[in-house]
């Protein structure tokens, strides 16, 4: 008789995998909330061609966390080391106001302004964290560590994500119109500046909170790749949102699940799955055309 895989061994492995994921289930829930919120906003980020605004806001948010930790090290306010989100939010919202109001549109091309913000905020984050008390320990704030998400963190993430997603559900028509054709929206009496700023505000809020746990790379991934997958698979807005959310949740679920037993960093594992799903989406698009 030839060798066959031992059913008991496979069963035992699956059990261990399940146990490991179960152990970190709170972290998984938090990651899924980040995935869902970012993937909805990501559709606008990709369609409005503000992908790098998303990246710049994520870097600003990261710099805000670093600033809070550095300030805490300087004994300015000790509470900042446990709640760096306060400073992160302030810095991110400053960025939201800057980009959302169209400031900086002048002699300097907008993409250069975004690039400057991205580079300076990224460098500032690293410099500040290197001089913060126990800087290395705080590196996690910058790179993210979804395994550290607790139930309380998930509740906080939900408290931010649910109102943001509800706002996007209720004001879908307004966000869509000012994103698709702002000139015509303006002639219809839509307050284009207000709706743009509102959209950026929701983006800034989600990024600031998601950044704390996911880090720049993972948040940027959830803002871009699922939306790209959605656009590749679907030809309608509804379908794009649906597939964006589904692919983000799938990437979070699969990436997270595989990362725990195989001792892989969770963020990059999730991003790798997101990339794989985008490639599948590309394949689906090609198949649709044939």
């Amino acid at each position: 008789m030839g060798a066959s895989p031992c059913p008991t061994s496979i069963h035992a492995r699956a059990h261990r995998l399940f146990d490991a994921v179960l152990l970190f289930r709170e972290s998984l829930y938090g990651t899924l909330v980040i995935a869902a919120a970012c993937s909805v906003l990501g559709v606008y980020v990709v369609l409005r061609r503000i992908v790098f605004v998303g990246a710049a806001l994520a870097e600003l948010s990261s710099a805000g966390i670093a600033l809070a930790l550095w300030l805490a090290g300087q004994n300015v306010a000790l509470g900042l080391s446990t709640h760096p989100i306060v400073v992160s939010l302030m810095v991110t919202m400053a960025g939201v106001l800057f980009f959302g109001s169209g400031s900086g549109r002048g002699r300097i091309p907008p993409d250069a302004t975004i690039g400057v913000t991205y580079a300076v905020a990224g460098a500032a984050g690293i410099l500040l964290i290197s001089k913060a008390a126990a800087g290395e320990a705080h590196d996690l704030f910058l790179h993210g560590n979804v395994l550290g998400i607790t139930r309380a963190d998930t509740v906080v993430l939900l408290a931010v994500a649910i109102p943001v997603l509800l706002a996007h559900l209720i004001f879908y028509k307004e966000f869509l119109f000012v994103s698709f054709d702002r000139e015509t929206a303006r002639t219809f009496g839509f307050r284009v500046g207000f709706w743009n700023l509102f959209l950026y505000l929701t983006l800034g809020l989600v990024i600031a909170f998601a950044m704390q746990f996911g880090g720049v790379m993972l948040v940027f991934n959830f803002l871009v790749l699922p939306a790209v997958t959605g656009l590749l698979v679907s030809r309608t807005m509804r379908g794009t949102f649906f597939w964006s959310i589904v692919s983000a949740l799938l990437a979070a679920l699969i990436g997270f699940t595989l990362s725990v037993p195989f001792d892989l960093p969770s963020g990059p594992a999730i991003i790798a799955v997101s990339g794989g799903l985008a490639v599948l989406g590309f394949g689906a698009r090609i198949a649709q055309r044939r």
Binding site: L47, E183, T184, R186, T187
Partner: protein
């Protein structure tokens, strides 16, 4: 005919910089007006004043009460990467009537389909916007402008970047909407030769100057040479007027105190697009 929009000594500009000054003219109900001039001359500035998105620096621009505009933007202002079906885009023309936070309903969809039928592309209702040709995209945007039941249809460079066939079809459609439905139409364009053969009046915006009149009044060598700053002739081919710049003269005769010499071609000229 009552006036829908009245400019009275209006100076238009941005900040403190005046782009056009002393504008006094009316847009009566049922008008078919072409606002023509080169890029940067101030056509869009006038358009913004008409659409109430720009207040005059001096003078007044008054609008008839209850005026509704159907606006057709330049095609490149619209982002065709959005995964929208044609009918979804047309329904946007109803968005201001639906109310804040509410979604379009079955009635809005029916009206959008009726509007698409009106411009002859109902069969494309469920097609992705990105899959349409330039002419079909323009018809979609016209249908969106019409679905809100406007008093005035405003088209911004409707034939920009289109081939001859699409240009003729779109301009024919716009004229049909004016003649059949009695719609007041304002068409902004840099292409005088195209617009002059469809509209009833022309507002010429050039080099800070402004002149408005019937097509016959504006399409004269004297007026056009004066406005363009070069000698031009106006010819007619099968009833279509064509403005041609003289190759042998870079300056108009009027600039030297003399009358231009219409219809005296010593050499072939270049059509003014």
């Amino acid at each position: 005919m009552s006036s829908l929009v009245s400019f009275d000594g209006a100076t238009l500009g941005y900040g403190r910089r005046a782009v056009l000054s002393g504008l006094t003219f009316d847009i009566p109900e049922g008008d078919f007006l072409g606002i023509v001039g080169p890029n940067g001359a101030g056509k869009t500035t006038i358009l913004r004043a008409i659409l109430k998105s720009l207040k005059p620096l001096e003078g007044t621009v008054s609008h008839a009460p209850g005026l509704r505009y159907g606006y057709v933007p330049q095609r490149d202002q619209v982002d065709y990467t959005f995964p929208l079906q044609v009918v979804d885009v047309v329904m946007m023309g109803r968005y201001d009537r639906i109310g804040l936070g509410r979604r379009p309903g079955a009635i809005d969809r029916e009206l959008a389909c009726a509007s698409l039928a009106h411009v002859g592309i109902l069969n494309l209702a469920n097609q992705p916007l990105s899959s349409l040709s330039g002419g079909q995209k323009q018809r979609t945007l016209i249908a969106r402008a019409l679905v809100g039941n406007p008093n005035v249809l405003i088209l911004d460079e409707p034939t920009n970047g289109m081939d001859l066939v699409s240009t003729t079809q779109i301009l024919g459609l716009v004229r049909e909407l004016h003649e059949r439905d009695g719609l007041t139409v304002l068409m902004v364009s840099h292409a005088l030769n195209e617009v002059a053969n469809y509209v009833e009046r022309i507002a010429l915006v050039m080099n800070g100057g402004f002149r408005i009149g019937t097509v016959d009044e504006i399409m004269s060598s004297t007026v056009l040479s004066d406005m363009y700053g070069i000698a031009v002739d106006v010819d007619s081919v099968n009833g279509h007027r064509i403005v041609v710049a003289r190759r042998d003269s870079s300056m108009p005769d009027v600039a030297h105190g003399g009358e231009p010499m219409p219809h005296q071609h010593t050499r072939p000229g270049s059509p003014i697009v």
